[in-house]
């Protein structure tokens, strides 16, 4: 992969896009800091985190990186932390846009299959892990503002969990909106199922955290509560996602097979080995496959019949040649003599038979009267 291939919207448009996106991101970062998590006073619940991911996927690594990097810087400046104080977080936010931006070099340009959907979500999760990793490493070696392992529980894990869940859920939504994710049966089922699972888990996890909050006495206990709930959330989201992928496959695999069978019929192949296991299923797909198979054999029979009918429809007889051949036979002396004799035989045999009948008549009467 060469850098020359990295796509960048041309000229002013790119610049305007990056600056305005970074400003939006920065302002959202600065003014959404009120949504603080109860257990982690330094980490805000930041739905805007999906912005660099989204721009990275759609416009490539540079737009994604610069939006995240500059946006975070602007946010920090607006909050009064200073432009360079937490530079490691600028890099982390840049990575949010950078890695998804590289996805297109792995063939991820348009998502219409489950496989690509799973790749996209994997990139989202991996990007979160890499970004947090960079933050932690930079702090360990240069900034040294954190205390380990306390800060791991107090905000690193909470930040990771909330960002993973948010980006996991919201990035696909934005990508659907710009048709980067094309709505097919595959993507629709996966989206609906994963959303359903994620929302149930997030709501219940939040409910649990808030319920036990008042009973928690120490900060350590409250951190522990969030930590458990968060880990459970991430695990269930990932497992739920895998289940939804599996369920989607149960529906989309037969559809793909049926589609392939239809294409084979289109090309005049009627054996359809692609339906071999499918038509043994007892569900609607099985029924459809059975119907499709019988339809194919009917079409084949009809086609063969039509071909034969075309051949059968032309009983062609060369009438001129027929007349010649017939004339040659019937005008021979032999034939004329034979015809004469045959006429004679027929008259005499008719007479014979009539005599036979006359002779037999009394007998027949006797026998029938018995």
């Amino acid at each position: 992969m060469s850098l020359s291939k990295i796509r960048l919207p041309k000229g002013m448009r790119a610049l305007v896009l990056i600056i305005s996106a970074a400003l939006v991101y920065g302002f959202l970062n600065a003014y959404s800091n009120r949504l603080l998590l109860p257990s982690a006073p330094f980490i805000a619940l930041r739905p805007q985190v999906v912005l660099p991911f989204f721009l990275g996927f759609v416009f490539g690594p540079w737009v994604g990186f610069l939006t995240g990097f500059l946006g975070n810087m602007i946010g920090d400046a607006l909050c009064g932390y200073g432009c360079w104080t937490f530079w490691n977080w600028h890099i982390a936010n840049g990575i949010y846009g950078l890695l998804p931006g590289f996805a297109c070099y792995f063939g991820l340009k348009e998502i219409r299959t489950l496989r690509r959907f799973v790749i996209m979500e994997t990139i989202v999760v991996a990007t979160n892990l890499v970004a947090i990793g960079v933050v932690v490493l930079a702090d360990l070696f240069w900034l040294k503002t954190m205390q380990f392992p306390e800060s791991l529980n107090s905000w690193i894990l909470p930040a990771l969990i909330t960002n993973i869940v948010l980006s996991f859920v919201l990035v696909p939504l934005l990508l659907v909106f710009v048709k980067f994710i094309v709505i097919t049966v595959e993507t629709r089922i996966t989206l609906v199922l994963s959303w359903l699972i994620v929302s149930i888990v997030v709501i219940s996890a939040t409910a649990v955290t808030w319920t036990v909050w008042n009973d928690l006495t120490s900060q350590a206990a409250s951190v522990q509560a969030f930590y458990s709930a968060g880990i459970v959330t991430v695990l269930v989201v990932i497992i739920g996602f895998l289940i939804s992928v599996f369920l989607a496959h149960r529906i989309t695999d037969p559809l793909a097979n049926l589609g392939q069978a239809a294409r084979q019929i289109e090309q005049g192949e009627y054996q359809l080995p692609v339906l071999d296991t499918l038509d043994k299923r007892s569900d609607e797909f099985g029924q459809l496959a059975t119907v499709m198979r019988s339809m194919a054999s009917q079409i084949e029979a009809r086609e063969t019949r039509l071909k034969n009918q075309v051949a059968e429809l032309k009983i062609e007889i060369d009438r001129t040649k027929q007349d010649e051949d017939v004339r040659e036979i019937v005008e021979s002396d032999y034939f004329k003599a034979l015809r004469q004799k045959a006429r004679g035989f027929r008259t005499t045999s008719r007479i014979d038979k009539e005599e036979e009948i006359k002779d037999a008549t009394p007998k027949d009467d006797e026998s029938s009267s018995i």
Binding site: E312, Q322, D325, I329, V330, F335, K341, K353
Partner: protein, 248 residues
């Protein structure tokens, strides 16, 4: 009242001997006394269908035509216990010398007719089936001239169509009282009704049956009688219907 029926095809390989043998057995199963005459002196074959060993043939049609024996001495009983009626076979000689002699000198129609009449009265035959030689040579024309019914067998192929058209016209000129077409070895996928209509229109002659191309029949080929071995087969029923129709 006995009937003489010639079974003919313009070309070889139509299943003529096979059909003749099956028709004979079918008629016998209806309780009739049937005699099959193999007038295909040039290339006799129907004895194979009845599994008659050439060594067991004491007198053949050739012997009768040369005055060596009476016609009834040439008749070989081919009946089995399953049929109410009887099947006799008058074979042609298998000896090449005999075949050459007939080809050279021919035979007289008057004599052939006498033979037919005698066998009919001596063995009280109800139906005389004549297995003819393909083509339209003089002996074949003779058999046709002596017949009450002519059954022409053809396959669905262009050469058979042309030959059949000629045969139908010649037979009409010779004033055969009744004539039928039987299409044999017709692939299953042909539409039966349409095939019958087309053939009747093309040959201006009624089609008595359309027999399918049957693997079982091919397997038996000329080695046994199909209607005896497969009494419940659709083809057997079809041949039974031909037997009934042909009696009028």
């Amino acid at each position: 009242m006995s009937k003489i029926i010639s079974i003919h095809s313009f070309r070889g390989g139509t299943g003529k001997s096979n059909t003749t043998a099956n028709l004979a057995v079918s008629l016998a199963q209806m309780g009739l006394r049937v005699c099959v005459v193999d007038t295909d002196i040039q290339s006799p074959g129907i004895h194979v269908m009845f599994q008659l060993n050439p060594k067991d043939i004491k007198f053949s049609l050739n012997d009768f035509l040369w005055g060596k024996c009476e016609i009834e001495q040439t008749a070989h009983e081919m009946s089995t216990e399953d049929s109410k009626g009887r099947v006799f076979l008058i074979p042609s000689s298998m000896r090449t010398g005999d075949i050459a002699r007939v080809l050279k000198f021919g035979y007289d129609i008057q004599l052939l007719r006498e033979g037919f009449m005698n066998i009919i009265s001596k063995l009280t035959i109800d139906v005389l089936l004549i297995d003819t030689h393909p083509g339209l040579n003089e002996e074949t024309l003779m058999s046709i001239a002596l017949s009450d019914v002519l059954l022409i067998i053809l396959r669905p192929d262009a050469q058979d169509y042309q030959g059949t058209a000629i045969t139908v016209e010649v037979a009409r000129q010779i004033e055969v009282p009744q004539m039928y077409l039987l299409m044999n070895k017709v692939p299953d996928l042909f539409d039966k009704t349409e095939t019958i209509e087309k053939a009747q229109e093309a040959f201006t002659c009624p089609v008595i049956a359309i027999l399918p191309h049957s693997d079982e029949m091919m397997m038996l080929a000329s080695n046994g009688i199909f209607v005896r071995q497969y009494p419940d087969h659709p083809i057997t029923r079809e041949i039974g219907m031909v037997a009934q129709k042909i009696l009028g």
